[in-house]
């Protein structure tokens, strides 16, 4: 039951700008004691910004924040922490070389001269017991798994006594099972009177655990409703502003012959630890093979090995029958394997180049774009203009600096560049992460088109819904191996989730 008379924190007409972008536009929401309140919205809707304002990391440009009835100004997270507000960020703010205890001790408001971790250890041990969490308190953070790091973040917030906990996309890197454990702990905390602001873009979670939900779209508050009084479709419509197609209609096309065959791939990650421990799969023409898995199980290294960025320490990769192990990225691209990297800004584009220059990135030495020893600027610009038109990239001119484009358009530039090479194979790593629904639909559409044209696509994604709607088969990677490959029509979310966690599934 929600206690309507006790509002823990509320905002009135809160506005926050970043240069020309209005991230929060006159938002007024109240959060009650003992409730789990979801903030729902697409990427860029303003959920995180609002949360950071409540946490004192950002200062609103106008509007007020009231804490338990009193007007407050939070000029730094310290002020928020003093009021009992804690926040767990989407990208953890932990100090990786420090131990768990040192990370917790860092946040202490009491400034002692000497560093004494024994009291911290005792209290942490007690908290872990209370919530049923197992954690090696002396381990360095970089040694912990992503799920364990998340618990450190949560306990860090809870340790100093909070009555309002803000969680930003907490299940992004958790297995379905770990997410459930989180929800049960939150339920426990709620019973003790804790209020939770739960930021997410996943409708299922909102329906499952929240009492009320506020929907944000493009910085504005659309509505605040009781979860029990709405449907998933209602929320989706509020979130996007129009009816959303939940399932892309996919033709059942026949899978062609094998095009990319990986056998027993072995390699290490940047820290020298084994990342791929004998992964094997076969990708066919006219197929989308999805790679599912929790972040950190070798997907990144798999992507880097297939695109030539990381050296393979063992195993074999065959493209159309020819071995391509340890080919350079340039050679692999020239053979016909294109790729879309995980991080478009740091891995896929040169932001200070013009759009035209980014569209030939990787092909600057091609005879097509050269006139003698010099670059043929006219050809480059004309070719860019064509691509901009075909792919509907929003950019005033090909000579525009790429850093002024929006996220969706950046991804389109990468897509245009890669598809312009007429690839036979495409390796895509999180191609729709952080993008608007409109762009996601567009990219999904192009991927399915490519599939029809005979291209083999390896789709690495943390979005299970995306994998289920696009892939013909789903391979689950766990601790550097492909533990199970499902035929999508025959697979269930639970089965795949269990595989991702390393439990269950039929052995190959």
């Amino acid at each position: 039951m929600i206690d309507n008379s006790s509002i823990v924190i509320e905002t009135k007409n809160l506005t926050k700008r970043f240069q020309n972008v209005v991230a929060n536009d006159c938002v007024s929401i109240d959060f009650h004691r003992g409730e789990i309140h979801s903030l729902l919205g697409e990427n860029g809707a303003g959920k995180t910004t609002l949360a950071e304002c409540l946490f004192g990391f950002y200062q609103p440009d106008s509007g007020e924040i009231y804490h338990k009835g009193k007007r407050v100004t939070l000029s730094s997270p310290r002020d928020a922490i003093k009021l009992g507000i804690g926040m767990v960020h989407q990208h953890f703010v932990l100090i990786r070389p420090f131990s768990v205890l040192e990370n917790i001790a860092m946040s202490s408001l009491k400034k002692s001269v000497l560093l004494d971790l024994t009291a911290t250890e005792q209290k942490m041990g007690f908290l872990c017991e209370q919530y049923g969490i197992t954690l090696d308190l002396h381990a360095k953070v970089w040694q912990l798994s992503v799920g364990e790091q998340q618990w450190v973040e949560i306990l860090k917030a809870v340790y100093y006594g909070v009555d309002l906990l803000i969680l930003d996309e907490p299940t992004a890197s958790l297995t379905p099972q770990e997410a459930n454990q989180l929800f049960s702990v939150l339920g426990q905390m709620k019973k003790q009177g804790l209020s939770v602001i739960f930021i997410t873009h996943k409708l299922k979670e909102v329906m499952d655990i929240s009492d009320r939900v506020s929907v944000l779209r493009k910085g504005k508050l659309i509505d605040t409703v009781m979860t029990s009084e709405v449907t998933k479709e209602d929320l989706a419509r509020k979130m996007v502003g129009r009816d959303v197609v939940f399932q892309i209609k996919k033709d059942r096309s026949t899978i062609g012959e094998p095009i990319l065959k990986a056998t027993n791939l072995r390699t290490q990650n940047d820290r020298g630890l084994d990342a791929l421990r004998g992964a094997s799969f076969t990708l066919h023409k006219s197929e989308i093979l999805g790679i599912a898995g929790i972040a950190g199980n070798g997907q990144r290294e798999l992507f880097e090995v297939l695109t030539g960025i990381r050296r393979l320490k063992g195993g074999e990769i065959q493209f159309n029958g020819k071995s391509i192990i340890n080919n350079s990225p340039e050679e692999i691209k020239n053979l016909g394997i294109a790729h879309i990297p995980d991080d478009r800004i740091s891995e896929g584009l040169i932001m200070d180049f013009s759009v035209a220059d980014n569209l030939i990135l990787g092909r600057q030495r091609d005879k097509d774009y050269r006139k003698g020893p010099f670059l043929d600027r006219k050809k480059i610009i004309d070719s860019a203009a064509d691509l901009i038109r075909i792919f509907n990239i929003v950019s005033p001119s090909p000579l525009n600096r790429t850093r002024f484009l929006s996220g969706g358009n950046l991804q389109k530039v990468i897509l245009a560049r890669e598809l312009n090479r007429d690839p036979k194979c495409l390796v895509a790593n999180q191609p729709t992460r952080g993008l608007d629904v409109g762009v996601i639909e567009y990219i999904h559409g192009r991927l399915l088109e490519l599939r029809k044209l005979g291209v083999g696509i390896l789709l690495i994604s943390e979005d299970l819904d995306e994998l289920f709607s696009l892939s013909d088969r789903i391979a689950v990677v766990y601790r550097g191996e492909i533990v199970e490959t499902f035929n999508t029509p025959d697979a269930s979310l639970e089965e795949v989730g269990l595989c991702m966690a390393g439990t269950g599934g039929v052995s190959i």
Partner: protein
């Protein structure tokens, strides 16, 4: 409801070329003020001081040409810095690369003294380029193989090269007829031709201008230049998208070293005409300043280097006229750079007036 008007400092996303030039102007203005202040502290007449600097730099035709002579090595070390910094390679070893260029050129001169002048000239220049290139290659190789940053290795090499030269000049290449550590005078046939009679303007100046043009074309119009710029902006994406970052780095450092080596040959065969331990008066480091002020643009290096050449020239007249040490020019150089960096950084911010209640 009270209306509160406040100020907010916002950060722009990048610096426009207009802002860069404005920053340079502001930097020069502030530096002039600081210079005046230093003159006052030095008990000199400020007006007299500035006039002396101007006269010494560009006051007469002869002075202007001499300023060009002083600018010659600066153009080259400036260019060497530009190409390296564009690729985000922090080559601070221009000084050492300059000296190695002079050393290898001198060695070639001693080995091939009997060649006809044109051939000898070409040979010495060639060896200067090769020597500088090898000297630039070493830190790049160390970085490629051992992941050791080039800043420290290039600086360490500067010191090592100086001691190497000292050994050469006190041993195998010492001029027996002199007490000081220096080589015998270079024969006239090997000296760089003088471009204008009764001046010291030598072939090196032409080579410097040509080098600037070549680097300009290279960086902005060729695929290699594209790759250099890509590397400088985003090495990760460059690597991911097929650019061989290691190979490009090695090439860039060789070019950079070669250009500095050419500066060494120019000073040796064009001006000083003997190998000495102080052929360079910090030209390598001044080149870094010039490159930064030129916004890392090869063609812009030329006017900035000429300005600095003029300053150096003017500082001598300053000393004889007002007793202010000519070392003032080094202070001015550093101050200009600091103000320029500060002004450029500050131009990224803008003031926004906010209204709140």
């Amino acid at each position: 409801m009270k209306l509160k008007i406040g100020f907010k400092v916002e950060k722009r996303k990048n610096v426009s070329p207009a802002a860069q030039i404005m920053s340079l102007m502001i930097a020069l203005l502030l530096s002039a003020l600081a210079t005046g202040l230093l003159m006052v502290i030095g008990k000199a007449n400020v007006a007299e001081g500035f006039i002396a600097i101007y006269k010494g730099a560009f006051g007469t035709w002869k002075a202007s040409i001499e300023s060009l002579v002083k600018a010659t090595p600066l153009i080259l070390t400036g260019l060497a810095t530009v190409i390296a910094f564009r690729a985000r390679i922090w080559n601070i070893g221009q000084e050492g690369q300059l000296y190695i260029g002079a050393i290898t050129a001198y060695w070639a001169y001693t080995q091939f003294t009997d060649l006809p002048p044109a051939a000898l000239l070409t040979t010495t220049i060639l060896f200067a380029l090769i020597g500088g290139a090898v000297c630039g290659f070493m830190p790049a190789f160390i970085k490629a193989k051992f992941a050791v940053d080039e800043i420290i290795t290039t600086i360490m090499l500067n010191y090592i090269v100086i001691y190497f030269l000292s050994w050469l000049l006190s041993g195998p290449w010492k001029d027996p007829s002199h007490y000081y550590q220096q080589s015998p005078t270079i024969l006239e046939k090997a000296q760089f031709p003088i471009l204008m009679v009764h001046t010291r303007l030598h072939l090196g100046f032409i080579l410097a201008i040509v080098a600037a043009l070549i680097l300009y074309l290279l960086i902005s119009k060729t695929p290699l230049g594209y790759e250099i710029q890509a590397m400088g902006f985003n090495p990760t994406a460059s690597r991911f998208q097929g650019i061989n970052v290691v190979k490009t780095m090695l090439i860039v450092m060789m070019i950079s070293g070669a250009v500095s080596g050419l500066a060494g040959a120019g000073e040796l065969f064009g001006v000083i005409l003997r190998l000495k331990s102080n052929i360079s008066l910090g030209y390598g480091y001044t080149g870094i300043i010039i490159a930064m002020l030129a916004g890392l643009e090869p063609l812009a290096v030329i006017p900035v280097a000429i300005l600095f050449g003029g300053l150096i020239n003017g500082s001598f007249l300053l000393q004889t006229t007002t007793n202010i040490p000519s070392a003032l020019v080094y202070v001015i150089q550093a101050i200009v750079l600091l103000f320029f960096l500060g002004a450029r950084a500050a131009s990224v911010y803008r003031l926004r007036i906010t209204k709140s209640d």
